[in-house]
């Protein structure tokens, strides 16, 4: 029977010499297995005298622990070496393109409308809608455009083919008909904005036969022009994301408001893009006024009890100004190059907490 020193020596040698996990396992069986010399020695412990056992026990157990540890260490070493060898093999060209996941875009009109809605929602305005093919009544008559009035002609109206009764509908020339439709449906206090498609027979760099308008309407017992001024000023600051947006209100004329005003905003046009709130130029951006008493009446409200204000502005134009888009016609051409360049990411959902735009 080999002595403990011999076992230790030959076992450690065999463990150290193992070239792979199989050889290491063979060494383990040889030196720690049930039939190993060490196991045989351990079996003799039972027959020993307490004194002798006191001496040999720790010796044998110590060796067993030592070998177990050596095998574990060797195992880890072999595993590490094998992994390193595998990793050395496994190499990719990291410059290869990944599988494509095409990202689409959101049209600037959608994005800007969402921006506008976010601002007005905070001020308590709901979003109202109405039809594009409108009756003459809602588009003109109820908005205080008298029959044959020259103001009607200023609208370059698209007419539908008359029906059998000779009545002809129009493509709404503004979103204002929805003012009447809203007043018919709801009772004051009213706070709505009305974004939507509008149509006029016109085409050049800043006019297209279809465009988008945003209407605002507030009606209550004490709604004043001062409030309108405040709302528009706060809106412009928030929308253009500037600290100040000085505005100039000029008297003007719309049949459906009285008094009526056009509003200019201060801007700097000296560079390539328009900078809002700076410079010395005034640029017209919207029309507004106090709702005409006749319009309130057409909407079923008594102008002695109720008053309100309304405004209208071009959504496309706001988008052009804010994002420096030069030509309105391109908005409707669905040119991929344009959509990818001026469009917005799907997850850019405008809200006041994150800021309206990035």
């Amino acid at each position: 029977m080999p002595g403990i020193k011999d076992i230790q020596k030959s076992a450690l040698t065999a463990i150290a010499a193992a070239a792979n996990e199989a050889e290491l396992e063979a060494a383990r069986v040889e030196f720690l297995g049930k039939k190993s010399a060490l196991s045989e020695l351990m079996k003799t412990l039972g027959k020993m005298s307490p004194e002798e056992r006191q001496e040999k026990g720790p010796l044998y157990n110590g060796l067993r622990a030592e070998l177990t540890e050596a095998i574990a260490a060797k195992k880890a070493e072999l595993h590490e070496a094998a992994l390193n060898a595998r990793l050395a093999e496994e190499k990719i060209d990291v410059t290869l393109p990944p599988r494509p996941m095409p990202q689409g875009t959101i049209h600037p009109i959608t994005h800007v409308t969402d921006e506008i809605v976010a601002i007005f929602a905070d001020m308590g305005f709901a979003v109202a809608e109405g039809p594009d093919i409108e009756s003459d009544y809602y588009n003109f008559t109820a908005l205080n455009f008298p029959e044959g009035h020259p103001a009607r002609e200023m609208h370059d109206t698209f007419y539908m083919v008359p029906d059998e009764k000779g009545e002809r509908k129009v493509l709404r020339t503004h979103t204002s008909p929805v003012q009447i439709r809203t007043m018919e449906k709801q009772k004051p206090p009213l706070r709505v904005i009305i974004p939507g498609r509008t149509y006029r027979c016109d085409s050049d760099q800043t006019h297209t036969p279809m465009f988008h308008q945003l209407e605002g309407l507030a009606v209550d017992k004490t709604t004043t022009l001062g409030e309108l001024k405040w709302v528009l000023a706060e809106f412009c600051k928030a929308f253009f994301e500037v600290p100040e947006a000085p505005m100039r209100f000029r008297p003007s004329y719309f049949p459906f408001t009285e008094p009526s005003m056009e509003v200019d905003i201060l801007c700097d046009r000296s560079g390539g893009n328009v900078k809002i709130g700076e410079g010395e130029d005034w640029m017209e951006i919207l029309g507004c006024g106090m709702v005409h008493p006749n319009v309130l009446k057409f909407g079923g409200l008594d102008p002695d009890d109720y008053q309100g204000w309304a405004f209208g502005m071009g959504i496309d134009r706001l988008a052009m100004l804010k994002y420096g888009i030069p030509d309105l016609r391109d908005f409707f051409a669905a040119d991929l190059r344009w959509l990818k360049h001026y469009g917005f990411a799907a997850l850019d959902m405008p809200n006041l907490a994150t800021g309206l735009s990035r």
């Binding site: 494509p100 990202q103 689409g104 959101i106 049209h107 009109i109 969402d114 929602a121 001020m123 308590g124 305005f125 709901a126 979003v127 809608e129 039809p131 594009d132 093919i133 029959e147 044959g148 103001a151 698209f158 007419y159 539908m160 029906d163 509908k169 493509l171 498609r197 149509y199 027979c201 279809m210 004043t224 022009l225 001062g226 409030e227 001024k229 405040w230 709302v231 209100f249 000029r250 008297p251 003007s252 004329y253 009285e258 008094p259 005003m261 056009e262 106090m290 005409h292 008493p293 008053q307 409707f332 669905a334 040119d335 991929l336 959509l339 990818k340 990411a345 799907a346 997850l347 959902m349």
Partner: protein
């Protein structure tokens, strides 16, 4: 509306400068569009004397001029035949910009002789086309003064935009009145001394209307002036007309234009000798014709008011005069017409005949109905002053329209409507300055009489506008809009939210959002379901024939857009649009759709094979939209009855029950692509998010408790051989129905036709998940469910388990 500063000062006594006037005009609602100050353009050009003009040593047609300028004597080589010693002309120094030629002068040598600056012609100064010689000024013209001053050109031209409610501002006098009210000076008295008439007019006037049409022309004042001499009008008048862009014609014509612009009062002068008999104002007879001053012949009808003599119409009332009775250089006797025409009829006539004239522009907006007698006096005075002659007494027919209006006005309305606090006295002052009669000061309500020239003012709101406009809108202080709630509450409707989410979902799936026209070509509309009610969708006056019909579907616009992008070399196109489509012209016929197309030959990638688009890409898009808008996808059924613009065998409908189609998808029909001239294959989908039922409102936001099993699920695969016409959905539904409690999912993972499967059959392989909740399933239990699945599928589809 154009006028000059000096013209304005005829009526406004003021010492404020041009800039202030311009700014005030804009701020009281008379928006300045442009100010053109010729003095600026001509600043470099001054009067100068030719000390000596002698022949050029080397050129017969050129002259050598020594010119005396404010900067000293210079030598100028001049080609004008009228350049001569002692003449006074206009000198342009070196470095000045010549407006007529667009050139900047430089010192030069002409045929070897030095020349500095030039003496200019009228054409070079953009005064006329005259270029035969240089400008020659009278002998006594002072030297070295700006030429613009000498020529009376230093009068800035102001152009303002006039809104349709302000006919009074279509005359310079009305503009002066507004400015005076706004504190910029004093309005001068515009009254005219009446001209004493001699004798009765040999031409009589009668208004011949029935009661119904009497408003067509409610007053006509005529006056005969004999012995006039018509020729060019004097310089001051010509200059004013030219400054505002009108061509001087003759004194008589120029007078009518002048009064039109000065007082906003159009009038007409007939050559009295060309009139036959008396004037009668009447409605035209259908088919009557008249040759007008614009040398066009117009066919009239019974809606048009004409001025006629015994021979027929000699003028279309308030729109244009007749050519044959107009004034010429030879005219010696004239008949003046000052009339009031119904604005609505003028507008209709002008539109019907397509005539734009200064007269129509003013009459249709409403000229001052009380100003006729004074206008007649003013015109007569000018005729006598400029053309001589002797005027008859006036002949008057009709009383004019009723225009008097009194408005009961609670002056606190100004503050109530605008928030602007003004003393009653200030309110009264403003109204009075604008010509309103105000009574009842200090009472609860003012009684305000509207002046004849303000047809637009109808009620208290209009008076508030007048007050605020003149006092200054800048004085209205912004006032915060009261907040109804501390934290803003949601305001979008369910459907508005759905459209937002659907758009974002599609963009995230790689589609680009487009916005295309609401109108398309009729042929395309017909092919997309509008054949039966095309009339309701037709635009009468489209921008172009390709845009003459309201779209019944968003797809044609998107397919055409894809075609344009493909023509530019983009093979991969994925577009969607969310917007209206129209089934008819009633509000309820308009629906909100979200539709898209995909077209791709298959992107090449190193790691996977290229794959073009197929109907299932469109189905996935449609399902993604339905998922985004919250449709109950587990209840959605698929049928294969998509509309005619889809490929009949490769398209489907996603629906909730037989009557509610939520979406359609599939390959676009090849014939449609041919018609639109776009290369296929292309797939498309159309979703109507509003067709998805709105979720029931629940009292709580709490979710139902999670019911997850800790026991392992068992997955079993089956392959069934079925008839080719059996759908995957039929097999899956049958399998799911085999044990509704245990089977939590059944999905298809393979379809096979071909070798090993007899013709007319196919193999469908499905994966069924059994999820126990109480105890782990035994092999026997699993086998029992498996047998039920086989039995159910077999019963429902006739399929057999594949051996």
């Amino acid at each position: 509306m154009k006028f000059t500063l000096n013209w304005l000062k005829d009526h406004l006594e003021t010492d404020v400068n041009l800039e202030e006037i311009a700014s005030k005009l804009t701020m009281i609602g008379l928006e300045v569009e442009e100010i053109d100050n010729p003095a600026e353009k001509y600043a470099a050009f001054k009067t100068a004397r030719v000390i000596e003009a002698k022949p050029h040593p080397d050129a017969d047609k050129l002259r050598l001029c020594r010119v005396e300028t404010p900067e000293g004597e210079v030598q100028v080589v001049c080609g004008a035949p009228n350049a001569r010693t002692g003449m006074i002309g206009v000198f342009a120094p070196s470095g000045s910009y010549i407006p007529g030629t667009g050139m900047t002068l430089k010192p030069t040598k002409i045929r070897g002789v030095e020349s500095n600056g030039m003496l200019v012609s009228e054409r070079e100064m953009e005064l006329s086309d005259e270029h035969d010689g240089i400008i020659e000024l009278p002998e006594d013209t002072p030297l070295g003064v700006p030429f613009a001053e000498v020529m009376g050109l230093d009068d800035p031209v102001i152009e303002i935009a006039i809104t349709p409610n302000r006919p009074d501002a279509l005359g310079v006098y009305g503009i002066a009145r507004d400015l005076a009210a706004a504190g910029l000076g004093k309005l001068k008295d515009g009254a005219v001394d009446p001209v004493a008439g001699h004798g009765k007019s040999p031409i009589g006037v009668s208004l011949k209307f029935d009661k119904e049409n009497a408003a067509a022309c409610s007053q006509f004042i005529g006056r005969y002036v004999k012995g006039v001499t018509n020729g060019p009008s004097p310089g001051w008048l010509q200059k004013r007309l030219r400054a505002i862009g009108l061509r001087p014609i003759s004194a008589l014509v120029d007078i009518t234009n002048y009064v039109s612009y000065d007082r906003g009062r159009p009038l007409h002068v007939f050559d009295a000798d060309k009139l036959k008999g008396d004037i009668h104002v009447r409605l035209a007879e259908k088919g009557e014709k008249m040759l007008a001053l614009d040398e066009a012949e117009y066919e009239l009808d019974e809606t048009i008011c004409v001025i006629a003599d015994d021979s027929g119409p000699v003028g279309i009332g308030g729109v244009i005069g007749g050519l044959n009775t107009g004034c010429t250089e030879e005219t010696t006797n004239v008949f003046l017409e000052v009339a009031y025409f119904d604005p609505l009829r003028i507008a209709r006539t002008g539109r019907a005949l397509g005539i734009q004239s200064d007269a129509r522009y003013r009459f249709e907006r409403g000229v001052d109905p009380a100003y006729l007698p004074q206008a007649a006096e003013l015109a007569t005075r000018l005729i006598l002053d400029l053309c001589g002659g002797d005027a008859s007494k006036t002949v008057v027919a009709g009383d004019g329209p009723h225009w008097q209006k009194t408005i009961e006005f609670d002056h606190t309305r100004v503050e109530r409507l605008t928030g602007l606090k003004l003393e009653e006295q200030r309110i009264v002052e403003i109204l009075a300055a604008l010509g309103f009669g105000v009574a009842g000061f200090g009472d609860e309500k003012l009684m305000v009489e509207v002046p004849s020239w303000r047809p637009d003012v109808e009620g208290p709101a209009d008076l508030v506008e007048e007050v605020v406009r003149i006092h200054g809108l800048e004085h209205v202080q912004p006032a915060p809009l009261p907040r109804h709630v501390a934290v803003a509450t949601p305001i979008l409707t369910e459907n508005q939210n759905r459209m937002r989410l659907a758009k974002r979902a599609l963009a995230a799936r790689g589609l680009d959002e487009a916005v295309t026209w609401s109108f398309i070509a009729e042929e395309h509309a017909r092919a997309f379901g509008a054949a039966n009610n095309i009339a309701q969708l037709t635009v009468e006056n489209p921008m172009s024939p390709e845009l003459d019909t309201m779209r019944p579907s968003i797809l044609p616009g998107l397919i055409l857009a894809a075609g344009r992008n493909m023509d530019r070399g983009f093979d991969e196109v994925a577009l969607f649009e969310a917007g209206p489509q129209y089934a008819g012209d009633a509000p309820e016929d308009q629906s909100l759709a979200i539709s898209g197309i995909r077209r791709s030959p298959g992107a090449r990638h190193w790691a996977s094979a290229a794959r073009g688009v197929d109907a299932f890409d469109a189905k996935a898009d449609a399902l993604a939209v339905l998922a985004a808008v919250g449709a109950p996808l587990e209840s959605v059924q698929v049928t294969s009855d998509a509309p005619a613009w889809y490929h009949p065998g490769r398209s489907g409908v996603l629906r909730l029950g037989p009557k509610n189609a939520l979406a359609t998808f599939g390959e676009v029909h090849p014939r449609i692509l041919d018609m639109l001239d776009v290369k296929g294959p292309m797939v498309a989908f159309e979703v109507i998010p509003t067709n998805v039922p709105e979720p029931k409102k629940k009292g709580t936001k709490a979710r139902s408790p999670l019911n997850a099993s800790d026991l392992p699920a068992v997955i079993r695969d089956f392959a069934f051989v079925v008839d080719v016409n059996v759908t995957a959905e039929q097999v899956l539904r049958a399998a799911r129905g085999a044990d509704k409690k245990l089977i939590t999912a059944a999905v298809l993972f393979d379809v096979y036709e071909g070798k090993g499967i007899e013709p007319g059959k196919k193999s469908l392989a499905i994966e069924v998940t059994l999820q126990p909740f109480d105890k782990t399933l035994t092999d026997d239990e699993i086998e029992a469910v498996a047998q039920k699945v086989i039995a159910q599928v077999s019963k429902a589809t006739g399929g057999t388990l594949r051996g």
